[in-house]
Symmetry: C2
Subunit: 208 residues, 2 copies
């Protein structure tokens, strides 16, 4: 399976499929059709079948998909059939809230370290974590072979800290800084910027 | 200008264009080409020109776009040439961090109210805001004619609280709950789910 041939836009929809399948499993479904999935996600059934077809055949024509084996396969494809260790840099209000967010752990993302450069914060506890000196981060990332990082530092230091993370071996950054980070392959970035998402909606809130 | 004719995917790119233009303005640019914009955003110049063409002509062929008037026009299109009042429901760690996030105010989004249903929280201060009883929310939203809401409650109460917000007049919800909210037009939802974005990246972190 050549990853380059699967469009990123199809990959981007898989987590949403998995989320809805989990919801349907809780509701008692055992089999699911592309029509049912499509209705919940506001995506056409044809699109869903096409997305799934990139990864081979999941179900049988006209029979729907067996729910649990579909979930298993999606988890394997997304590489979440394991625990991922994560480091977080920037122990401000948002960083501390995220560091203790149970939604990450429930999904197999274990935030094992939280760092800051502020001497007033280093050594303090936030939830179950102790804030550590960011200068310790590269050594920890290398030793623990951590690939995932969450960035919640200020805009001024965002690129510099990202550079240090990448040099240490971080391969994927969840970026909360609002800075358009410059990264080089094979590093991946996903931006979380609530302001950008509000701007998207205000377009539709015209003078009414 | 018929809004229905402009694809949402084009709208979704406009905030990113504005963000990069602001960055370039800080760097001293006065004119910008679709090529320069495209390089920074990893979007083809043709795509950028096509997106802009939905809103009429911004620049002159071959001369690039005047930076500040392009920013002005994007702000008008996105309706952020004003202050938007916002209510936030769910004063947990994340809710409080967001309620005090200066990035919102810098962009014209003024979080004026923060609510919770926990008697232990109601009446307490978080930053400059006082946590109020969520039962007060519908009246406030109607009186202040607020259209934007941020939802940071638990998954169990997410849909119910969203329903109350919509009934009160909220037209756009920034949804942090991880629940696939059911809403009816003309209400818009944008989901912020860091777990979904991590899942998107782990796909690329294959056995290496």
């Amino acid at each position: 399976m050549d990853k380059k041939q699967i469009p990123d836009i199809a990959i981007s929809r898989l987590p949403g499929y998995l989320q809805v399948l989990e919801q349907m499993a809780r509701e008692g479904f055992g089999v699911v059709s592309s029509l049912q999935l499509g209705k919940r996600l506001n995506i056409s059934p044809a699109q869903i079948r096409k997305d799934f077809s990139h990864f081979g055949e999941f179900g049988q024509q006209g029979k729907g998909y067996p729910l649990f084996s579909l979930m298993d396969q999606l988890q394997q494809i997304l590489h979440i059939d394991r625990i991922w260790q994560v480091v977080l840099v920037g122990a401000g209000d948002l960083g501390c809230a995220l560091g203790n967010y149970q939604g990450f752990r429930m999904r197999g993302f274990d935030i094992v370290k939280i760092y800051d450069n502020d001497p007033m914060k280093i050594g303090k506890k936030t939830g179950a974590l102790t804030i550590e000196d960011v200068n310790q981060m590269p050594e920890d990332v290398k030793k623990l072979q951590i690939k995932l990082g969450i960035l919640t530092v200020t805009q001024l230091s965002a690129q510099q800290v990202a550079d240090v993370m990448m040099a240490a071996g971080i391969r994927a950054i969840l970026n909360y800084t609002g800075v358009n980070l410059q990264v080089t392959a094979p590093v991946h970035v996903q931006n979380i910027d609530p302001v950008m998402q509000l701007l998207h909606m205000t377009y539709y809130l015209a003078d009414d």
